[in-house]
C-alpha cells in the first residue's frame, strides 16, 4: 500500500462525525441563543433604550454572558453539544478571546494574558478588518 492508498484506506475506516445530529443541535441551540439575544433587545427597548442602541446592547450582553460562562467552565460543555450553535453567534467570538486569556494567566498578565488573548480570534479581527476596509473602498467608489 503506498501513501495515497493508505490515507484513503484510513479515511474510509475513520468514524464520521454525526453530521445530521450536529446540524440539528447547532440549529436548535444557536436559535435559542439568538432568541435570547432578541429577548434582551426587546427588554432594553421596553426599558426605554432608543431602538438604534438596543441591538448593540443585546450583543454586549451576550458577549458578557459567554465570557462569564467561559470563566465558570460551562461554555465548553455547552459548545461540545451545540458546536456551530455556540460558535457562529457572537458568543463564539467572546469565548475565543476569553478562553486563551484564562489559559494564559499562569504566564503573567503581559506575556501571558495580553500576548495570547487573541491567538484564536486574531485572524478573525485581522481579516474582518481588512475585508471591511476593502468593502468600504468599493462602496466609496460605487457611490462616488
Amino acid at each position: 500500500m503506498n501513501k495515497k492508498e493508505y490515507v484513503r484506506f484510513a479515511e474510509k475506516k475513520a468514524k464520521r462525525s454525526p453530521c445530521f445530529k450536529n446540524c440539528l443541535l447547532a440549529f436548535l441551540i444557536g436559535g435559542i441563543i439568538c432568541v435570547i439575544g432578541q429577548g434582551f433587545g426587546d427588554l432594553y427597548s421596553y426599558l426605554g433604550v432608543p431602538d438604534e442602541y438596543s441591538p448593540a446592547l443585546a450583543s454586549v450582553t451576550l458577549i458578557f454572558l459567554a465570557g462569564l460562562f467561559t470563566g465558570i467552565g460551562w461554555f465548553d460543555k455547552l459548545a461540545k453539544v451545540a458546536g456551530a450553535g455556540t460558535l457562529v453567534p457572537i458568543t463564539g467570538f467572546s469565548n475565543a478571546v476569553a478562553s486563551p486569556a484564562i489559559d494564559a494567566k499562569s504566564e503573567g498578565f503581559i506575556n501571558g494574558v495580553g500576548a495570547r488573548m487573541f491567538i484564536i480570534a486574531g485572524p478573525v479581527i485581522v481579516y474582518g478588518t481588512l475585508a471591511s476596509i476593502i468593502y468600504g473602498v468599493i462602496y466609496y467608489l460605487v457611490t462616488i
Binding site: 490515507v7 475506516k13 468514524k15 465548553d76 455547552l78 486563551p100 484564562i102 494564559a104 499562569s106
Partner: protein, 330 residues
C-alpha cells in the same frame, strides 16, 4: 542496530503510578498507586501540576523500593512538554543523575529499552525509567485553550493524565525485561492530528512484524501484545493491516488507549493517548497481572507521533515510530 536486543539480567523491581480523575474513574480504577482528582495537583499551573505528579510518582517508587535514591544510577524519562520540563523539574528534587528523553508517546518503552541496555551492559546497577503526560498541559501545548468551546472528531484521543515510573535493576526480581526492538520511523502520509491512531498504526505493525521475522517466538507465545495508544481507530487499522499481511496474533492484540477508559461511558472518542497511557496501564494493570501470574509473557509496543504544532501548520504529514519491549514473569 536493527536486530532484537536481548537483555541479560534486567528486572523490574517495582513500579509506581499516579493518575488523574478520568483515569481513576475508568475500568482500570484501583490498579493505580496514587489518584488525584484536582487537575492542578495543588499547584498554580498545569505544567507545575505535571511536575508534581511526577515527583509524587518517583517518591512512591522510592518508598516501595525502600531507597532514598542514593543507590539509583540514573532516572531516564520524559514527557510531552517543551524541553521535557515536567520530568526534569521533578527529578531536580532528588539529586539522582538524569537523562531526559523525548520519544513522544513511546517514551516509557524507549526509557525501559535504554535503561535495560545500560544495566545489561553493566554500566548501571539500577535506574528508573519514567514517562508522563497531563491532559491539560498537553491541550495547552498542542491544541486549544481548555475552556475553548469546540467539538472533537470521533477519531480524536484524550491525553491521559498519568505518570508511571519503573525501577530497573540487575538484582533478580519477579518481572524480567527480556528483549527490545528499536522502531523505524514510518511516514504514511496522514496529516490529520486528530487521527493519530492512523498515523501510528503502520509504525506499530512494522515493528511487530520485524520482531516476529527475527524471533524464534511466535505470537501465541505471548499472553498479550499491547500497543501504547493507537486508540480504537488505530487499533482497528492495525488489525486490518495484520490481516492483510497474514500475521495472526491469535487474539492477543490489544491497545492500552482502549483499556484505560470506558470509551462510551466516559465519552473518550477514540480512547486514551499520551506518554502516560502506556506508562500507567503497564505500571498499574499489566504489572499486577504479571505479578499475580495471570500473564506470563507480554509484548509492549510504545507508539509515538513525531509531529509538533508548527509541522502540522506547515502541512507536513505525521511521522511515527514504535519501540517494542518484551517482559516476562520469572
Amino acid at each position: 542496530m536493527r536486530k532484537i536486543i536481548d537483555f541479560n539480567n534486567v528486572y523490574i523491581a517495582d513500579c509506581a503510578t499516579t493518575v488523574g480523575k478520568d483515569e481513576s474513574e475508568g475500568p482500570l480504577a484501583g490498579s493505580f498507586d496514587n489518584t488525584e482528582p484536582d487537575p492542578y495537583f495543588g499547584k498554580q499551573s498545569f505544567e507545575k501540576a505535571e511536575a508534581e505528579m511526577n515527583l509524587r510518582t518517583l517518591n512512591t517508587l522510592l518508598g516501595k523500593c525502600r531507597s532514598d535514591g542514593s543507590g539509583v544510577d540514573a532516572v531516564i524519562g520524559g514527557d510531552l512538554l517543551n524541553q521535557c520540563t515536567a520530568t526534569s523539574f521533578a527529578v531536580k528534587h532528588l539529586g539522582i543523575p538524569f537523562l531526559g528523553l523525548y520519544g513522544a508517546c513511546t517514551t516509557i518503552a524507549e526509557a525501559i529499552l535504554i535503561g535495560s541496555g545500560m544495566i545489561s551492559a553493566g554500566a548501571f546497577d539500577s535506574c528508573i525509567a519514567m514517562a508522563s503526560s497531563h491532559f491539560c498541559s498537553a491541550e495547552r501545548q498542542y491544541r486549544f485553550p481548555l475552556e475553548y468551546g469546540n467539538q472533537r472528531t470521533p477519531t480524536s484521543q484524550n491525553t491521559v493524565t498519568g505518570c508511571g515510573a519503573f525501577m530497573l535493576t540487575n538484582a533478580e526480581a519477579a518481572i524480567k525485561v527480556d528483549s527490545a526492538l528499536v522502531g523505524i520511523i514510518s511516514d504514511n502520509g496522514i496529516k490529520d492530528q486528530n487521527n493519530m491512531g492512523a498515523a501510528m498504526a503502520t509504525a506499530a505493525v512494522n515493528t511487530i512484524e520485524r520482531y516476529f521475522e527475527q524471533s524464534a517466538l511466535l505470537p501465541c507465545d505471548f499472553d498479550l501484545i499491547a500497543t501504547g495508544d493507537l486508540g480504537k481507530e488505530g487499533k482497528e487499522l492495525a488489525e486490518e493491516l495484520f490481516r492483510r499481511k497474514r500475521l495472526d496474533l491469535f487474539g492477543r492484540f490489544t491497545d492500552c488507549g482502549t483499556l484505560i477508559y470506558d470509551i462510551e461511558r466516559q465519552d473518550m472518542h477514540s480512547g486514551g493517548s499520551g506518554c502516560g497511557c502506556l506508562a500507567t496501564v503497564l505500571g498499574g494493570y499489566l504489572f499486577r497481572r504479571l505479578k499475580s501470574g495471570s500473564l506470563r509473557r507480554i509484548m509492549l509496543i510504545g507508539t509515538g507521533a513525531l509531529m509538533n504544532p508548527n509541522s502540522i501548520l506547515q502541512g507536513e504529514s505525521i511521522p511515527s515510530v514504535a519501540h517494542l519491549i518484551t517482559l516476562s514473569a520469572v
